[in-house]
């Protein structure tokens, strides 16, 4: 059973499920059926995904459908992220939707709509991660926007519809710029390459990227960075993030923040590789650094000021994406490693936090942090998970984000880019102040009256426990295969063939630097 068919199956599962759910009439069919189809498709995604990821870690890349889909070390990392977080949020959405139905906020047609678009959303994300054709990348990102519109607006209140409208308009306007970037790259490649038909495949463009016209490539990269940056939530284009997250159901915002932002970052990374191969890394790094530092600085203060729980987490996503952009901006093997580890770590942590926010919403029926108190007494298990999640998000040791923050500081010091490191660390301190205040404010203290004691259903707590276990595992003991996969991904991003074999990730990267501390740029090239 070769892997390219497995890739097609993985793509097919959610699409089929979506169509199947769409076909079934909403009135007569009990909601259990939808949930069942939904779970089956997610199980398929998980199994196929993990198998594919494992195969790529150990074996060679996977091509499918004649090069339209391509899975290399870099996209395998993100596919793994989808394969883990999508099932978790999927399982979590069962109790969440049941609770909303019981509350009368979701009618049967809305539930059907929810499950259909959830699978469509997963399908479009897998498409975005695995597609090798750059224009298909744009189409898949556009598809993610369209599939989540109704997920954001599923509650059909004025605010939800307003959030959905804003989300659609801002994202389509932003991503349209991405299309221009793609077109410029394609046109540029079509001139240079012999076979114009091949000019659309990323793997085909990469080898002769150096032949492309530099000024065009720079313009294309700016268009792509701004376009796909909108979906990634970088600073000037992040405005849809807080609105969409505060109105969408929690599992959807978990998927949105946890995975979608990372897929958009992956596509920006694809263009980053092309431009770096053509123009040299300085320009794209400068663009990413500016976007990253702006995002971190802006979002950190917003996280501190924000009173609404999910908007605070949304701004924290914007801030963490900014951190990833800063890591890419710092460049060098250490910078790339830090960025990739941060993507994985933040994906897991943010999904965990949004699911916990869902639990809090189920208990307190409000998002206002002022009225949420005594979580540890009201719902002990959720309380403990919430405290652990907040500490993980703040970057405390036993959790994964600590490793990536340390790698970022190391990269910053190695790249001798002190002003950025100091600015970012100051912003991180503000974020920690915000999160510690949130813990002290909402987890400790008295339980407000009218809030029933006793925890949320077990089915809601299992996915969160799994996610927390993964976050702690990444924080304490980065597994060997994952480390080597990050190593391959870095080699791809650094666009060099000689993967750093043998000794571990950091050491040879550091050792490479130690030989000539004066010149901090990549030595591996």
């Amino acid at each position: 059973m070769d892997y390219s068919t497995l890739l097609i199956i993985m793509l097919g599962c959610p699409l089929a499920a979506a169509l199947l759910i769409a076909v079934l009439p909403s009135r007569s069919v009990p909601q259990g059926i939808y949930a069942a189809i939904h779970l089956v498709s997610l199980a398929g995604v998980a199994v196929a995904g993990l198998a594919l990821v494992a195969s790529v870690f150990f074996g060679a890349d996977v091509f499918a459908l004649g090069g339209w889909f391509h899975l290399d070390g870099l996209s395998a990392l993100f596919l793994g992220l989808i394969a883990v977080i999508a099932p978790c949020t999927g399982v979590y959405s069962l109790p969440y939707v049941a609770h909303d139905v019981a509350d009368g906020r979701l009618g049967p047609s809305q539930v059907k709509q929810y499950y259909a678009f959830f699978s469509l959303f997963v399908f479009s994300m897998i498409l975005a991660v695995t597609s090798n054709n750059i224009i298909m990348m744009w189409v898949s990102v556009e598809a993610t926007t369209l599939s989540t519109v109704f997920l954001v607006g599923v509650y059909r209140t004025k605010l939800a519809l307003e959030a959905a409208w804003k989300y659609v308009i801002v994202c389509t306007a932003g991503v349209a710029f991405g299309l221009f970037g793609t077109l410029l790259v394609y046109a540029n490649a079509a001139d240079v390459m012999a076979d114009a038909h091949q000019a659309v495949f990323w793997t085909a463009i990469l080898p002769n990227a150096s032949l492309l016209d530099p000024s065009l490539m720079m313009i294309a990269f700016v268009f792509a960075a701004i376009g796909f940056g909108t979906k990634a939530g970088l600073f000037p284009m992040h405005t849809w993030l807080p609105d969409a997250h505060s109105e969408a159901p929690s599992p959807v915002s978990a998927l949105l923040s946890g995975v979608l932002l990372k897929c958009a970052i992956l596509i920006v990374l694809r263009f980053y590789i092309l431009t770096a191969a053509n123009v040299g890394p300085d320009f794209p790094q400068m663009v990413m650094m500016i976007l990253g530092v702006l995002s971190v600085a802006y979002a950190a203060f917003e996280v501190y000021r924000q009173g609404d729980l999910k908007r605070k987490l949304a701004y924290s996503s914007c801030e963490n994406v900014g951190l990833i952009a800063v890591c890419l901006g710092l460049g060098g093997p250490l910078g790339i490693i830090a960025a990739l580890v941060h993507c994985v770590a933040h994906g897991l942590t943010k999904a965990l936090m949004f699911c916990l926010a869902g639990n809090v919403m189920m208990k307190y029926h409000t998002r206002d942090l002022g009225r949420i108190g005594g979580l540890l007494k009201a719902a002990p298990v959720t309380g403990v998970l919430f405290v652990a999640g907040c500490l993980a998000l703040a970057g405390f040791p036993p959790f994964a984000l600590f490793v990536s923050e340390m790698a970022m500081i190391l990269a910053g010091v190695a790249a001798d880019c002190w002003w950025a490191v100091v600015l970012v660390l100051a912003a991180l301190v503000v974020v920690i102040m915000a999160l510690v205040r949130m813990i002290a404010g909402s987890c400790l203290g008295r339980v407000p009256e009218g809030v029933s004691r006793g925890d949320v259903g077990v089915l809601a707590l299992v996915p969160e426990a799994v996610l927390l276990a993964l976050v702690v595992m990444l924080g304490v003991a980065l597994p060997g295969p994952l480390a080597s996969s990050i190593e391959d991904a870095t080699a791809i991003v650094m666009n060099c063939e000689s993967a750093c074999e043998g000794a571990s990730l950091f050491d040879d990267a550091l050792a490479a630097l130690a030989d000539d501390p004066a010149k901090p740029e990549e030595v591996l090239l």
Partner: protein, 700 residues
Amino acid sequence: MLELIVLSLGLSCVTAVASLILGKARAASKTVACVGGMAAAVAGAAGGIMALFGPAVYVSLPGPMPFTDFTLLLNPLAGLLVAVIAVLAFAAWLYGLSYFDEYYDKGIGVIGFFMNLFIASMDLVILVDNAFWFLVFFELMSLTSYVLVIIDQTEKSLRGGFLYLVMAHIGFLMIALSFFTMAVSAGSLEFMDYRTCAFAPATATIAFVLAFFGFGAKAGMVPFHSWLPQAHPAAPSNVSALMSGGMIKIGIFGMLKVCFDLLGATGGQVGWGVLVIVIGAASSVLGVVYALGEHDLKSLLAYHSVENIGIILLGVGTGIYGWAAGLPWVAGIGLLAGLYHLVNHAMFKGLLFLGAGSVLHATGTRNMEVLGGLARLMPWTAACFLVGSLAISAIPPLNGFVSEWFTYQGLIGAAMEGDLFLRIVFAFAVVALAITGALAVTCFVKAFGVTFLAAPRSQAAADAHESSAPMTAAMVLLTIACVALGLGAVAVTPVVNAIGAFLTLAPELPATAGLELVSLGTASVVSPLILAVLMAVVIGACALVRNAANRRAGFKEDPAPWQCGYEPDLSMEVLASTVGANVRAFMGPLYGIRHAVNRAGQAVARLLERALSSPEDAPVSAAPAAAGAGAEGSSRYERDLRHGIAPAEEAPSALSTSVLSAVASVGRWFSRLESGDFRTYIVYIVGALVFFLALIILVR
């Protein structure tokens, strides 16, 4: 000996988990936590003491993280720290056996869990020999102690905990920057490679200064001291003893490790030593001056931690100066003074905090103004507290005097060799130390006198009772330690001197001769043992003669003797605020510094607020906190309180509130960017595009 310490770590973790599991059965959970903790402490102490004499043990295990492996190094310095923390932990656990009874409803399982982890993480920070794992356990130490600080969940403890965690994290970030600057030029995260790599002088200075301020934030020295008096008192008393005695020493340990161990090969600069001495002098004076203004027993002791850290820094600074300037004797005596005072401070500060805890346990309040007359009701606690006060005020036969004597000799000896500028610096340091000594005496007369002596000033103080056996036993243990470290200085000094020599890799210069402590550079001797004997003999003789005269001439007690028609009543008694007012009259300028800093902070915050706030935001005015409610009764404190004369509850240090309001106002200003209208959002995207396209033209 490393096995012993690993055993103690294992015991701590096992006990932690066990006490958490037994959370519901409160008594069982408490006893398991305390007994397990004590066992771990005994193992740790044994391991530490053996490490003091044995050779350094280096163990490198393939750790869970792929990029660095898990390395442990147990050298004499680490052994000393582990032993000190173990002794303190033993006393804290013994104390906790009955002190934790009042914490049953606050989750005894959680306290047992986090306290054991706290001690284990402190030991691991000392042992681990790898940049990554050092940072991990350093941050874990802050996290676990944060939980212990906010265990009361009162508004004050939450604010203290918040300030503590933020300051600890700022320190942590500076240490991370320092380690990674060294890592970049050393080529790996292993400290072993740091030691072998010869850093460029500029990198070494950056690394040292960052590490100094990073670890300084943890140790609570002056620029970063504001969190200490708000965080330590909020924790349970035996935890604050452990934090004040043990945790802030990790800051000092960090500085020593970076300066002597990691940058040892590169050699230091004289400027480092001078920096440390100046900050040490400032910390010691400001610490004790602010302590005088306090009427809360535990925050007074916390301010004294700032002062004693200043004294330790004076010793360490002399050591660094001597090592950098190539004066082996100065380096030796400086480090000896710093390390010895580190041990002494751990002992007597731990004792004082436990004493304060017993007072809190017995009377329910920490406010000295409403206590008084506890000496007769709680004799053991009063006696131990008195010995602790004598020790911390460096009164001769006890251990505080010995380490401060070495510090003085170090400073004067260094001044002898120094040039013009250095002599002024050392003179400034000596005068600062003298002022600190005198003020410490005043402060502890106030603390002991107002709390323990005279008549009880409130009902709570009147029906106080002596604390139970384990609490008293813990206090007596630490008192014996203080007295032993004082009188037995002749035995302890060579051991600590050897560690100093080990750090500076110089031959060990003798610091003792027979029963006397010798300071070669300043050709002077002192012997606490003989001094104690002489004092005992002479004072005993006078007392015997006087008692004989009393027996012959008669001795009677009269509760209210004729006072020449003058009838003292409660409203005339002296209070902590009286002492504070007096000192403030003379030490005006030193108080001015804190007042000026707070006013500057508030001015900046108001400026930011006016600049950034749009008209409709109401300016945030920090309402002065209402005065703390003292126990009822007609004592002067209550009357002053009612008339608002007594000092209001200490408003949170204005600097931290102004920083918070500044951050909030910047946040409000940013949020005006998102006015809700998505059309402006699209204009933002187009704007960003135009900006970056312009950037391209600029770049090309």
